[in-house]
């Protein structure tokens, strides 16, 4: 029991890092993804094409590679090259990557709202922006909840990739203790922590789905 309390401190610190990466990424990637999706479905062909290319790039290469690139290679790129400390580099990589996945989820959700809704809004005099804001996006939210739930749970676990930047997240903290003390107990505790975080998320999304169940499409 004493041993358990002893390792709890470092593991909780690791959890704090994991949660920070998770929450900041979510807070940045959701709006960015929404912006990308809106450009993607807009009638601006060139901009839409550029976004498609961006999504292809971000989904087509490993997240770890993107993170390594931003941390190690970006400083040497001419003009845009900046040297980011490890935490901002990790956030940048996660945000850019997850925004691409979110954008695809949002795009599918936006496009699943039928033409009749657009037409009804148009004949009532709503502009394109008003139609999006009042009619399409609110209906999109209900439809994207299941894939968003999936994706955010994946994000919780993906945060463990930041070990490549030598940051002390939950998994790295656990591994450090395992290697020091020759016991697998920290892994079990870490697993329980991850499970708890995904449980909270699952529950949160269930609440949301219930809230949106007041109407049917």
């Amino acid at each position: 029991m004493d041993y358990f309390t002893a390792i709890l401190g470092p593991l909780l610190n690791g959890t704090a890092v994991t949660l920070q990466v998770f929450l900041i990424t979510l807070a940045l990637a959701v709006p960015l993804g929404l912006g990308l999706a809106l450009v993607r479905v807009s009638r601006f062909r060139t901009a839409s094409g550029i976004v498609s290319g961006y999504i292809w790039l971000m989904r087509g290469t490993p997240l770890m590679l993107q993170m390594l690139f931003i941390y190690f290679a970006l400083p040497f790129v001419p003009v845009i090259g900046v040297r980011l400390p490890d935490f901002p580099a990790a956030i940048a990589a996660f945000t850019l990557n997850y925004a691409a996945y979110f954008a695809e989820i949002f795009r599918a959700g936006i496009q699943s709202v039928g033409r009749g809704q657009h037409e009804a809004a148009q004949v009532l005099g709503l502009s394109y922006g008003q139609t999006m804001r009042r009619i399409v996006l609110p209906q999109m939210v209900k439809r994207i909840l299941p894939p968003m739930s999936n994706e955010t749970i994946t994000l919780v676990k993906d945060t463990s990739l930041i070990y490549v930047l030598a940051m002390n997240d939950l998994l790295r903290a656990a591994r450090g203790i395992v290697q020091r003390d020759f016991t697998t107990m920290p892994f079990v505790v870490a697993a329980a922590f991850y499970l708890f975080m995904t449980l909270v998320l699952t529950w949160g999304f269930m609440r949301l789905e219930k809230k949106y169940a007041v109407y049917d499409d």
Binding site: Q117, Q122, V123, L124, R134, Y215, D216, D217
Partner: protein, 250 residues
């Protein structure tokens, strides 16, 4: 009120409207009939810019929505103007197209609040009055998915009326309904006709067209074949195609 001249519209290589012209005066109730695929819906949708035309001219209450110059180039009014012009027309769809995430009341006040800039408080009393008129005040807080088809369509009519249009366009408002539910919707439209609302109604309900409309238009193959006062059209259709169509229905 509405003047459409020489409207041409094609989808790809098929010409769906081949020079349709129509004048609507205040208080007219025009029924548009004709076989499936004759271009009735497309014509109605061209009037309020749900479809853009390829050639011709449309004026709504003296304002030009679209015109075609001598070189054959079709020009629409600027987007904000076109939206303002089209707002004079309300439209009711075959598939209702209510907003499923809004309650009945929210459906009705959405455009007055968002488009006209009314406060919710100011928008609610007239919305409730409209609901009373279509007999659905008791459903004001229900979501559309909890309504029958006939109730949905009456809400859709109230929603269109909330923008105080001068003209109402109906595209087969009862075709998606079970037969026993068409009556309540037709009664509502009939009531509007009695209040001298200007209307264009695409319909397959011949009895309704005969009883309610002031004029009937028969369309076939993307053209207006015949246009007559309702009583005459059904008693003695002049054109063989009209006769064939009406006989086929009878």
């Amino acid at each position: 009120m509405i003047s459409a001249q020489g409207i041409h519209k094609r989808f790809g290589s098929t010409e769906v409207l081949r020079g349709v012209s129509l004048h609507i005066d205040k208080g007219d109730v025009v029924a548009v009939i004709g076989p499936s695929g004759s271009g009735k819906s497309t014509f109605l949708r061209c009037l309020n810019r749900l479809e853009t035309i390829d050639r011709g001219r449309i004026d709504i209450e003296g304002e030009t929505l679209v015109d075609t110059d001598a070189g054959g180039v079709c020009r629409y009014a600027a987007d904000a103007d076109a939206r303002r012009i089209c707002r004079k027309m309300g439209m009711v769809f075959q598939q209702f197209n209510l907003f499923p995430h809004f309650t009945v009341l929210q459906n009705i006040i959405e455009a007055p609040v968002t488009v006209k800039g009314l406060t919710r408080e100011a928008a609610i009393p007239p919305a409730e009055e409209l609901l009373r008129k279509v007999g659905l005040l008791h459903k004001r807080d229900a979501y559309p998915s909890h309504l029958s088809g006939g109730q949905k369509q009456r809400v859709a009519i109230a929603r269109a009326l909330a923008m105080e249009p001068d003209i109402m366009l109906f595209d087969e408002p009862t075709s998606a309904l079970d037969p026993e539910l068409t009556g309540e919707v037709l009664r509502t439209i009939r009531q509007l006709a009695e209040e001298h609302m200007t209307m264009i109604v695409v319909t397959h309900e011949m009895a309704f067209a005969r009883d309610v409309s002031t004029r009937v238009i028969f369309m076939d193959g993307g053209e207006i074949v015949e246009e007559r006062p309702a009583a005459e059209m059904f008693a003695s259709p002049a054109h063989p195609r009209t006769r064939a169509f009406l006989n086929h229905l009878a």
